[in-house]
Amino acid sequence: MNLRTPDSCSGKVPGLYIHIPFCRTKCPYCAFYSETDLSFIPDFLRALFKEMDMARNQFDRFDTVYIGGGTPSVFTSYQIEEIVKRIRHNFALASPAEITLEANPADINISFLERLRDTGVNRLNLGIQSFDRKTLIFLGRRHSSAQAVSAIEISRKAGFTNLGFDLIYGVPGQDMKAWLDTLSRGVAFAPEHLSCYQLTVEANTPLITRYQKGELPFLPEGLQYDFFIKTSEQLEDARYTHYEVSNFSRGIKYASRHNQKYWNHTPYLGLGPSAHSFSGNRRWWNHRNLEDYINELSLKNAPIQAAETLSPKQLRLEALFLALRTSAGVHLKDFSEKFQYDLLLEKGETLARLQEEGHITIRDGILYPTRSGLAIADSLALI
């Protein structure tokens, strides 16, 4: 696969996302949409299947499926099997398709995982977050680090050869040493993929209230930078590729094909409450509320909350900021043809300065963010 030009890495075959809006408990930092009342699961599934039915002709074919949420692993393996079956029934999947499921380490056992593999799930992403007890407690996670370890072991045993971990740094009380410790414990299991997120303080979460009350210190910018750079260095030393701001993989082969679609304007269809879809210059998204979602579908309405048509300028801004978050970078000629905007011509002086400062490099007509450039990717997009 040629990862150099952003458009070619997935060949523009769309991706399918399924949002499972359930978690057993809510983590205080999380802003993703989910409910904890699991008794709604049957109604949700009925609605989801109806949505699939209604959406079946929108896209020709998908080559990735991502079952995320929420916590898909609160479902039984039968329910997941049913979902995958319905997907195959309603949509054409390329083969091989990348089918990912997100799981909480506390939820899974070997038979669950084996059934998943049988249904065709070939990529498992574990929400480990940390191997440190105190950090896990702060984050309100319902699993222990021992559970994480055993989840990893059984995942391998069940035959998952494409395994990813989510880890979080910048948690109050966690110093660099504690983080690097978690990181190296993670690396020791040699996962194919690692997502290392800086803890972000999102609106409408219990966490932000604590910050607003002044109970928690914000991470100084210098430290944020140090965490970011150290993480990148350590993982690249361990032969991981830093292919997006928060994402690392064992060679570009194991980069999440699905997530890359979000970052290079490949079309995607999102099903389930709060899921976003994108095609051409339109983006639309579903109700962020399970009841509305179920009600709309029982009335045979699309559960869409809103939609937007992106202007060429908006598409350009998105393309730029998304590309600058990835190691694929910006293909300057393609960019200029697509958006009638020649970055070198318009921003030459600034780009030269950024090169001098080591935030970007330009090679063979492609503008790549460096490690320090990735740390300021948002500002790079605003030059």
């Binding site: 972000t200 970011f228 979000y262 983006r283 998105e318 300021i376 605003l382 030059i383």
Partner: protein, 598 residues
């Protein structure tokens, strides 16, 4: 005409002019109660936000007096701040009398006196009104003494009122009718109307505000502007109610507006005389003295593509702000723009804000300056109000800067602190006048440049708001002047240059660097700011780059949210001027003149 009264309300700032206008409007029943709001004549957003009047505003009120007759009262509410005194002087040309308001607690202040002189120059009937008598601190006896001693008016001729409580309103209306003479003028004579203001209406084009002295004008007439003989057909005339109110004609003695499809905005000159094309008056009305700008600064569009819009916007804006003077200018760092003259720093700020709001322009103003006089070795004299044009020390034989006579009225206890401030600002020849118990007038001769350098704010805070400040322009005096240049990442930004006294140069350069450091946001790379005198770098600061700003997640397909965030930031950045690769916000250019004391 016997039943018309044209008058202005004049006073020092905040003495209650607009509030009194409210009561007069309400008394005459011009506005339905439910549509009423305080300071109703302050109808610009910027006036309401700042709580001050910026524009003179005319309104026609019908009034049935105690003599049983109906009168037409043309009221003009005027601004009190010294920077808008040109508005007052123009309003007065349309009047036969004034209400001179004096705050019963504050007493006579600098602009009370200045505005009184303006009224006297116009030979107007003056009715002193003591306002705010409801205040517990009101001291009517003392104000009466001041009316006698400081204003030279009959202290018993005053009317007491509280504009806030609505006390004394009828007395005022009766005094207007009885004491202010009706306008004189000959309705049969050729038309002579004075343009005292104008504004641009996006639907109707130029709307001329005028006072008719002789003759009459009605729709269909062909009017002619005296100064360039341009002729236009009158489409509509009318009076100022809260909105424009159409009428059949405007006759001698009346104040109103004319809409005449004036295509060329620059044909309308404030102070010009309007007459009829087929029967012109013999000579123009006296018109106005030119506004004398004291502070200069250049206006540039943030994006050079917007230069045309700025040109058109300024022309239209100028209709409504006759005190603004401008001409083409260009800067090495900022491109094409306009050099503008203002009556003061507040005037400058208001022009900036109004241009942005009313004409949707994004602009940058260069560091304000006064006008210097340089005499060259060959005896040639050059006036320079733009530091970017500083000729360089070698050829200059003599440098001079304008001085002012500053008059400050304040409670005696602040004298020490204010004396020190004035001396720090190179003040000379102080005089102290005792105005009454505990109240003094301090007079200083000072360089005008020191006054624009954040003097007013410092003075107000030293006197805790109880001081009033006014000045008269004086003469030019020799001064040891040097040029401070500011370099941003090694590039000279001419719009940030200042001419300063040599003794202050080092401190000012340091201060400019510090202020810029506060104003310029951190960027993706280091920004070095240097201050230089005659090419020698004497101060420097750096703004360290930020190193981390990216948020961790961009995930789950919700790219929209992230984009909106960036769009918002981008909009903020659009309001900054790119100099080389550094974004400099608007505020930085004016902040250079702010001290950071207190």
């Amino acid at each position: 005409m016997e039943r018309i009264r044209n008058f202005s309300i004049i006073a020092h700032i905040d003495h209650g002019k607009s509030t009194l206008a409210d009561r007069l409007i309400q008394y005459t029943g011009m506005v339905e109660e439910r549509n009423f709001q305080d300071q109703i004549l302050d109808n610009m957003d910027i006036e309401r936000e700042r709580g001050i009047t910026i524009k003179s505003q005319a309104i026609t009120l019908p009034y049935r007096a105690q003599d049983g007759k109906d009168y037409i009262l043309n009221l003009i509410d005027t601004p009190g701040h010294v920077d808008f005194s040109y508005e007052v002087s123009r309003a007065l040309a349309s009047c036969e009398g004034v209400l001179l308001l004096i705050d019963a607690a504050q007493g006579v202040q600098a602009q009370t006196i200045a505005n009184l002189y303006l009224a006297m120059e116009n030979n107007l009937e003056i009715i002193p009104v003591i306002n705010k008598i409801d205040l517990p601190t009101a001291d009517i006896d003392r104000v009466m003494e001041q009316i006698d001693a400081e204003l030279g008016l009959d202290p018993y001729a005053h009317i007491k009122c509280s504009a806030k409580e609505g006390i004394g309103i009828e007395d005022i209306l009766e005094a207007i009718v009885q004491r202010i003479p009706p306008p004189q003028g000959n309705p049969e004579a050729p038309l002579a109307g004075l343009i005292f203001d104008a504004h641009y209406d996006s639907y109707r084009g130029t709307v001329i505000h005028c006072r008719q002295f002789d003759g009459m004008v009605q729709p269909g007439d062909i009017i002619r502007f005296f100064f360039n003989k341009a002729a236009y057909k009158v489409e509509e005339v009318g009076h100022f109610s809260l909105k424009r109110e159409k009428s059949d004609r405007l006759a001698a003695g009346e104040v109103g507006y004319i809409i005449a499809g004036v295509k060329t905005v620059s044909d309308v000159r404030i102070g010009d005389t309007i007459t009829l094309d087929h029967r012109p008056c013999a000579k123009p009305l006296p018109g106005f003295k030119e506004a004398k700008p004291v502070v200069f600064s250049s206006i540039y569009p943030i994006s050079s593509e917007d230069y045309e819009d700025l040109t058109v916007g300024l022309e239209k804006y100028k209709l409504n702000d006759a005190a603004l003077i401008y001409q083409k200018d260009s800067s090495v760092a900022l491109g094409q723009g306009f050099r503008c003259g203002f009556l003061g720093l507040l005037h400058l700020e208001i022009v900036q804000e109004r241009l942005e709001r009313e004409y949707d322009l994004s602009i940058i103003l260069s560091v304000p300056s006064v006008r210097y006089r340089f005499t060259f070795k060959d005896e040639q004299i050059l006036y320079i109000d733009n530091p970017a044009h500083y000729p360089g020390p070698v050829s200059i034989a003599r440098s001079e800067e304008p001085y002012i006579k500053a008059k400050m009225i304040m409670p005696e206890k602040y004298l020490g602190a204010v004396m020190k401030l004035c001396k720090d600002r190179r003040g000379l020849d102080s005089k102290i006048n005792y105005l009454g118990p505990g109240r003094i007038e301090l007079i200083f001769e000072m360089p005008l440049a020191e006054v624009i350098y954040d003097f007013y704010d410092r003075f107000k805070s030293l006197t805790q708001g109880y001081g009033s400040f006014d000045y008269e322009l004086g003469d030019y005096r020799e001064s040891n002047l040097v040029l401070i240049d500011i370099l941003v990442n090694g590039e000279k930004v001419d719009a940030l240059s200042q001419i300063v006294h040599r003794d202050h140069a080092r401190a000012r350069a340091l201060q400019a660097c510090e202020r810029l450091k506060e104003e310029i946001p951190r960027q993706v790379f280091k920004v070095a700011i240097q201050g230089a005198i005659g090419g020698e770098i004497i101060s420097r600061t750096t703004i360290s780059p930020f190193r981390k700003d990216v948020t961790a997640k961009c995930y789950g397909g919700d790219i929209t949210r992230k984009r909106k965030l960036l769009e918002k930031q981008k909009k903020g950045k659009k309001r900054m001027k790119m100099i080389g690769s550094v974004s400099i916000p608007q505020s930085a250019f004016l902040a250079v003149l702010k001290t950071d004391a207190d």
